[in-house]
Chain length 372, copies 2
């Protein structure tokens, strides 16, 4: 470590974006395995064109280190560079194996299936530098000095420790639920259906960079711990965080999310409607259907494809369009806008939509300050 | 057919027991594939000892044609025999390849894991003849002349037609629910969890021979069609019957039930607690754990292992011990005895236990005559 630090002081510096810092952590902890660094040109092209690394392994989204002309001018292939957090913390050193043009015209339409600047993932790539640096990384730390380094520390379990935890619990089949929202009853229902057919459930919220308007990760974590305390079975539930950044790439990101969970030791992965989507860029079932494009062994994890769910008065419980007929006025559904309005006024949504304990966490946040 | 009938008239006759007639139908329709007849000695021994046919294929319960000394005296290896229903209908001709001693001392403890005469499956084997006849069968009909030949005809779909039906519906993943009881809310819940993660659900009641005390198949069919009409989604649900006889062999019968469903084109099979068990002969999870003794490809169908479920007032829905904490007085549970008492008095159990429409079917049966 000391030697790396010493070496870094004489190297050209690259300050990472928030997305790149998330990616660095994901690589460092093994969550992006088999990647051991930022991708080179052959992998970049294989990923964009065929959703595969150059060696044929399925990988749907390029994990890139983009730099601008100015930084690029300080680098040379075969040398190294020091990677810094925006707060100045030295995070890692990269072996600069390749420097190549950032082919955004290849990446954007393939990965996002749109070139619309209004798409937050597209916009993020558009704003990135025009050069990509590929090579393995040597990590010193993934914890920045001046940020809440202890953020969710107790829940920040890397893949190897997560797998060990599953083993110590005697779980062979584990369903993972990816989320970047509070868990209301609809998602609680999906989680519980999955738990019924598995040994255990991993609630695995994404706490890396999300878009403005998403509920902050710390508020969501309060929601998760609250609903687990009151409505889940401790011995069957594990809550840990996943430090990736969102791309909002819909189907391709659903595959990425599944591959990540395989690294965490999960066997089943919950894929809802419009998983990892944003706006109207993706068809309702695109993120479920994409799994059918692969052989089961290619992904190595079983997708659990769910419909939307809602409480039915006649059925006295949660239902989906697959499990209960549609009856006039029977199901309790609230729009996101309506829920936000209620919370901002300090009102709980109906218990059939949101657990009151969770509603109270959100009301506290929504009424105590201007929500981010 | 005419030639077979002609031939049969000159052959020694074997009148089948109800269980044997069920087995004959299962063989005839392909539900017992790869069996094409009653098992010979090598298969019998492999099944009893290792749950495998002589060629290594998994098969957990011997499908035997037992005859007594008197009938045995009329048969000879290398000849044929005519198989009759108890009402006199000629059902099939068997090529008598083997006649061998019925090794009940091998069959009973291995298949049933008990030798207790009070076990209905054990008792059935004990009462059978001391000789077994092995060989392929040539079927004329599986419909007896003097019995309700049209019993459940519209729901009596053989495996090949069932598979074709799934294909025409576009279902790739299908969960099957085996039952010999009315569907109350607990089992409805298992069915619906399974449906959420599959394309469709096959409700597949066993209508072959069951033990005294079980609710008659025609009453159960009324319960099934009623609950499907009011609480299931037509496009996701298929109700057909499975004409096998019960053995009450618990774990081994669970494997048999799964193999049968694979023949019907099913991908997932619901295995509850004490599946196919009776009394206290089997451990709660024996019928689930037995699947772990095989490689996944050996069975070729995914077991969905469920816990008991009940309605929780606090959760506002169905839960199991895996998905909701146990709270004092929270769950609505009624014993079988209590339910029978209520029905006999014309009272509906609570809607959280049994759908009122189903309760009414059972009340009508329980109050209109002495239940069988």
């Amino acid at each position: 470590m000391a030697a790396l630090r010493e070496k870094a002081s004489s190297l050209p510096a690259i300050t990472l974006s928030a997305k790149q810092a998330c990616d660095l952590e994901m690589i460092a902890i093994g969550a992006f395995s088999p990647l051991t660094g930022f991708v080179g040109k052959a992998d970049f092209e294989g990923i964009c064109k065929d959703m595969r690394l150059a060696d044929g392994t399925v990988w749907p989204i390029p994990i890139t280190l983009a730099v601008d002309d100015e930084v690029k001018a300080t680098l040379s292939e075969g040398s190294s560079a020091a990677l810094f957090h925006s707060d100045g913390t030295l995070l890692a050193i990269i072996d600069v194996q390749e420097i190549y043009a950032h082919d955004k015209a290849l990446e954007i339409p393939n990965v996002f299936r749109t070139e619309d600047d209004a798409h937050p993932g597209v916009a993020a790539v558009q704003e990135e530098g025009d050069w990509l640096v590929g090579g393995p990384i040597h990590v010193l730390t993934v914890v920045p000095e001046n940020e809440p380094g202890e953020q969710f520390t107790e829940h920040r379990l890397p893949p190897a420790e997560t797998r060990a935890d599953f083993e110590s619990r005697g779980w062979n089949t584990i369903a993972a639920f990816q989320t970047r929202n509070p868990i209301h009853r609809a998602h609680e229902y999906l989680c519980k259906c999955a738990t019924e057919i598995c040994d255990g459930l991993l609630i695995h919220p994404l706490v890396g960079e999300t878009k403005p308007g998403d509920i902050p990760a710390d508020v969501r974590m309060d929601c998760y711990t609250t609903i687990i305390e009151h409505y889940f079975v401790d011995e069957r539930t594990l809550l840990t965080v996943m430090p990736a950044a969102m791309r909002y790439a819909g189907p391709r990101e659903a595959v990425l999310h599944a591959l990540i969970r395989k690294n965490y030791g999960v066997s089943h992965f919950i894929v809802g409607r419009d998983h990892a989507g944003v706006g109207d860029y993706y068809g309702t079932y695109d993120a479920q259907n994409i799994f059918d494009e692969f052989e089961p062994g290619d992904i190595g994890i079983i997708p659990l494809k769910f419909e939307h769910a809602a409480y039915s008065k006649k059925a006295q419980g949660m239902v989906s369009a697959k499990t209960f007929p549609k009856l006039e006025g029977d199901q309790i559904f609230l729009s996101g806008t309506k829920v936000r309005e209620m919370l901002a006024k300090g009102e709980r949504p109906p218990g059939e939509f949101s657990r009151p304990e969770v509603a109270d966490v959100l009301i506290k946040w929504a009424t105590s300050e201007v929500p981010a």
